[in-house]
Structures are given as C-alpha cells and as structure tokens.
Symmetry: C2
Subunit: 123 residues, 2 copies
C-alpha cells in the first residue's frame, strides 16, 4: 500500500496562528528547526552567541537592523545573521518569516526579557 | 559610516545559471548550506546516509518519489527527506528549488554516478 506523504505549506501553517513574535516549529532537519513567525513593530536588540540565524521572508517585508547598518528583506529574499552579532528585526506591517536555526535557540537570544517566547512550540 | 548589507534574492541568484541538477551555494548557516537548483526530468534514486535534506520549492512544482509513495511540492511548500531514505526528485517542467543540508553533501548521495554534480560551487 502507498504511504501518504504531506507537503508542508507555509500559508496553511500561517493560518493556524495569529500571535506575533512567537515562532512556531513546522519541521526539523537533523538538529535544526524550521520555524514560522509573524512579526510587526520593533523587536528587542539581541544576539545569539552560539549560532547563525537564517531569515527568509515569505510574506510582506522586514528590516534587520544592525549596530552599523541594516538590510531590507522582501518576499523571496533571505539573510543570515552571523552568530554573536547584535540585531533587531523590525516590520512596519505584519511580515511572515521562516527562521532556520538549531533546536533550542531562544528568540531573544542572550537578551531575555518580556518578549522571550515559549520555545519549541510546534504547529 | 553605515555598512552595506545585502539581501539574498532567490530570483536574482537563479538568473545567474541555467544548468540543471547542479546545486549552487548561496549562503552558509554554521556548517549548513543553502543551495539553489534548477531541476527538470527524473533524477537518480539515492539516499543520504548521514543527514536529512530540506527541499523548498521557489518556482514551479516537483515530486519527490519514495519507494512506497510520493509527495508533490508546489511553490511555498517544503519537505524534509529523512536521512537514509531512498528518494528520487522528479519535475515535469523546470522547477526551482532551495536545498538546505550540511556542507559537503553530494547531490547523488551514496549512489554516485554520472549525475554527481561538483560540490560547494558558490554563486
């Protein structure tokens, strides 16, 4: 008998939550996770001391601010923030992003604080 | 002075090559690579014994065949092939994909053969 395999569809997954700044895991690749997030407004400045972090824009646009510049990301664009680099994601309107990073990475990095989201939440 | 940061744009990168079944590296996340490939027709059956492999469809559509089934992937969809699992990518028309896997992974896995592409080619 044929086994059923299912594609992961980004828009379907995004329709399952409304919460912003709260990444949801949709898949694992070895010990890395693929997470979807909706973001709007300014996040906190933070860094991830142990790992790089990939941002892929799936809907809308966002800016990643650095201490010495910034990069605008539109749909179909990505950027990898090197480990240890201070950054602040900003979106004027709601933006849908795919994050790829090792399992266990916390959204606020070493900064912590009120905007730290629950980790490893799957949808 | 402001430093310049540049987004990686998938369509811009795809415009830089025409070769099919020959993944081009566009970015690294720790020891993982993001690779773009154009595929059309049937690839060889193969497996990657050491790692999972992520397929994200950026343009067109493709099927990943397994020994016991298959999955159709359209734009905005992804699938992670678990390590060690025999698979064969197939596309009736040219399809543009993003692959994410550890640095050093060969496109034909343990199968090898004529369709083995040069590895670690950056664009």
């Amino acid at each position: 008998m044929e086994k059923k395999y299912f594609a992961l569809n980004f828009q379907e997954k995004f329709s399952l939550f409304t919460e912003q700044w709260s990444p949801k895991v949709i898949a694992e690749l070895n010990d890395y996770q693929f997470k979807l997030a909706k973001i709007e407004g300014e996040f906190v400045w933070h860094a991830h001391e142990e790992t790089d972090e990939a941002f892929v824009v799936v809907g809308g646009e966002m800016t990643i601010e650095f201490r010495d510049g910034s990069v605008l990301l539109k749909v179909g664009e990505m950027f990898i923030v090197p480990k240890g680099v201070d950054h602040r994601p900003v979106a004027n309107h709601e933006c849908k992003i795919l994050l790829i990073e090792p399992r266990g990475v916390v959204n606020t990095g070493t900064e912590g604080g009120a905007r730290t989201a629950k980790n490893d939440v799957w949808i």
